[in-house]
Amino acid sequence: MTPDTFTRSQWYAIGRLPDFEGAEAKPVRLLSQDLTVSDAAGVLSVNDADGRSLLTQIRYGHLWTTLSDTPRPLYDMPEFDEPDRRLVTVGGVGVRCSGLRCVENFLDMAHFPFVHTDILGVEEHPSVESYDVSMDAEKDEIWATKCKFFQPMASAAASGGQMTEYKYRVPHPYSTILYKTCPIREDVWDLVGLFIQPVEEDECIVHSFILVFDEENTDTGLLHFQQNIFLQDRMILENQVPRKLPLDPRWELPTRADASSIAYRRWLKANELQWGVALFNEAA
């Protein structure tokens, strides 16, 4: 299947800047297409298999490109310009499932106690309290707010269990950002996010970042914390069947805790997204 218009019109992160230092036609795969990245004296360029030069931009510590000549603008994260924040780019991790599944898993708090046991959740506190989900119509993005969850070790900077407050944002079919209570500063949020590079309909590379206030941990300490969490997710994601995202309501039965996932699926449908979606009549 060729990518639908909504999928094709997006910007995609394809790696961190240091990943392309001195690159000479380094192969990269995006939306089932072979691309190359080259570094000419610090200027990065991306070409498709026919040698056509693609649009690029450098933002949020990553190189972004698009197959479209008229892409939708890349969403804003003004927090990247705030002083004192620490940015750690975690590196691309390959996952054998649709990137849409990765977004959905990221939004799901119910898995914390069981997948991230004793870090993001404990088995004694498995319940997901109700939260609000809304559409920002102007920016065309989803927000889930007032999410609360008991977390024994919400971040590398946490010194003990806390009721963590969360906001989730989905501004892009393959990106999602978590805003969570900062354990060491009041009235600010720490950010953790995924920039997903869809490789095939059922395969992706997940680039993630952390943008936090943290005076205690080294960058490498933050990196290890995040990679450990994501590898816990990876195993679950690779065991999901089918590997593409099932959008047909006959397939899975959502519950109240899945409100953000329901909104995400509705939003994908409203935008007529098809690439990466499992069809009901293809079911195993």
Binding site: G91, V93, G94, T220, G221, H224, Q227, N228, R234, M235
Partner: protein, 208 residues
């Protein structure tokens, strides 16, 4: 005692496991193996010219190579003398033999995992095929051990051979290598995760 550690490394996990089994207090220094390739930096090459992790610092000396560190820790700090059974030459020979086998698991099953998870450019089909060949040998061996009443690779108790082989066998699924075909390996994994003070690493599916 300090371990130069990378959280996703199976070879570092071997050392973390034995440090916990032997209840040895230690500190860890996080190495940015991926994506930063800190193990290839000039500073790290001073510590290990091979540019590999793990490295253990103890008493002012650096010890490199996962299997060597296991032997060192068990010889020096295991009062029971069972993890590295120096008083039983025939068992010790078997343990040493399986330590070398563990290195072959690293060059196959671990390579497939590096390809699939971290995008390393290598021949993944060859790495997976090599791992399957080794897992067949290990599965047959473990099944034979069970028939003789032995639960572990070298005999009736766990040794550094089990610690050395465990991580990249148990993490094989990360590299697209199914353990479905190896029932004796699966039973051994279940025994291993039930050892006192065992800690799980992401990528190990204990519900297999």
């Amino acid at each position: 005692m300090k371990l130069f550690d990378y959280v996703l490394s199976g070879n570092c996990y071997k050392i973390r496991l034995l440090l916990d089994f032997l209840e040895l207090s230690h500190e860890k220094q996080a190495v940015d193996f991926f994506p930063g390739r800190e193990h290839k930096s000039d500073a790290f090459l001073q510590i290990n010219p091979l540019g590999q992790i793990p490295v253990l610092e103890d008493d002012g000396a650096y010890i490199r190579d996962a299997q060597a560190i296991l032997v060192y820790l068990a010889s020096r700090y295991d009062p029971t003398g069972t993890w590295w059974p120096v008083n039983d030459p025939s068992e010790l020979g078997r343990v040493a033999q399986w330590l070398a086998f563990a290195d072959s698991i690293t060059s196959t099953a671990s390579a497939a995992r590096l390809h699939d998870v971290l995008g390393y450019d290598l021949d993944v089909a060859q790495a997976r095929a090599g791992a399957h060949k080794l897992f067949r040998i290990l599965d047959d061996h473990l099944a034979n051990q069970e028939l003789q009443g032995f639960n572990w690779i070298a005999g009736s108790n766990p040794t550094v051979a089990d610690v050395a082989c465990f991580p990249y066998v148990a993490l094989a699924g990360d590299g697209g290598i199914e353990l479905f075909y190896y029932p004796a390996i699966q039973r051994w994994i279940r025994r291993f995760v039930n050892l006192p003070r065992f800690k799980l690493m992401p990528g190990i599916n204990i519900f297999n």
